[in-house]
């Protein structure tokens, strides 16, 4: 990581406080859901609220990314970047729907699993924005 990386990072719309917040929030929901699953509890209100807030944060992140692209900035790997972006905003709804269908401890396990995947996708999203010379 050199000055080139920090310059690219400064321009990256997916590498700010919002992205960090989404990662932290997602992990918090994952831990909360894991506790629920271990205690044989179905997904509770807090898990669904967490998924909702996470989705809002991810949508704002997407809008910022699209605004940046509209303003002339380009991700390093556009195809992969938009693939990850679309996947990312679909994750909380996926967890929501499946958790609603499964009002048992396994519903909580689903929320946990999806919320563990989301931070990975955020990091991949950041990597596909700032590709420096492949």
């Amino acid at each position: 990581m050199g000055p080139m990386t920090s310059a690219a990072a400064a321009n990256s719309p997916v590498d700010g406080i919002l992205a960090t917040a989404s990662i932290v929030l997602s992990l918090l929901v994952a831990v909360w859901a894991l506790v629920a699953a271990v205690r044989h509890r179905p997904p509770d209100r807090l898990q669904f609220v967490g998924l909702g807030v996470l989705e809002v944060v991810l949508l704002v992140l997407s809008v910022l990314a699209l605004v940046a692209v509209g303003g002339g900035d380009r991700p390093g790997e556009p195809g992969a970047f938009f693939g990850y972006l679309v996947t990312l905003v679909c994750l909380p709804p996926l967890a929501w729907v499946l958790a609603r269908m499964e009002p048992t401890r396994w519903g909580s396990a689903i929320v946990c699993a999806v919320c563990l995947v989301a931070p990975v996708v955020v990091v991949r999203l950041q990597q596909t924005w700032e590709v420096l010379g492949g």
């Binding site: 967890a95 499946l98 499964e102 519903g107 999806v114 995947v117």
Partner: protein
């Protein structure tokens, strides 16, 4: 766990639903990756990208099989999990033995190490789940 009734347990509820969720995640991951690779740089590593495509298809079909939950669904899921297990082990060994064959990563390279070895664990969990929900003799 001993089943109390003669009816087979459905594969699409309880732990099965978690399994379907993870299969869906892998279906999305593998499909987008394969789609992108085949669309943009197929010539660089045709074998690896075609394999990604096949893996993606298998994840989708396995998820559908588990979700359908009927007799056919179970057989479809069984076939998919078996092919997956054989695939991930075979590709894992091949990718270590002959790096030329897979110049770019696939979901199954190095036993799925790029995906936290979940591609290796997933078919095993699928087979265990199918076994535990099998039709109990009346």
């Amino acid at each position: 766990m001993v089943e109390t009734g003669p009816a087979p347990r459905r594969t699409n509820s309880g732990p099965g639903r978690l399994l379907i969720a993870v299969y869906l995640l892998f279906a999305i991951a593998a499909t987008s990756r394969a789609g992108l690779q085949i669309a943009t740089k197929f010539d660089e590593a045709p074998v690896a990208y075609l394999l990604s495509g096949v893996a993606a298809l298998i994840y989708i079909v396995a998820a559908v099989g588990l979700a359908r939950a009927g007799h056919t669904g179970r057989r479809v899921a069984l076939a998919c999990c078996s092919v997956e297990l054989v695939g991930v082990v075979a590709v894992g060994i091949l990718s270590l033995a002959d790096k030329e064959l897979f110049p770019d990563e696939t979901v199954w390279s190095q036993f799925g190490s790029g995906y936290g070895y979940i591609p290796l664990v997933l078919p095993v969990l699928g087979l265990i789940w199918l076994w535990r929900t099998r039709r109990t003799p009346a």
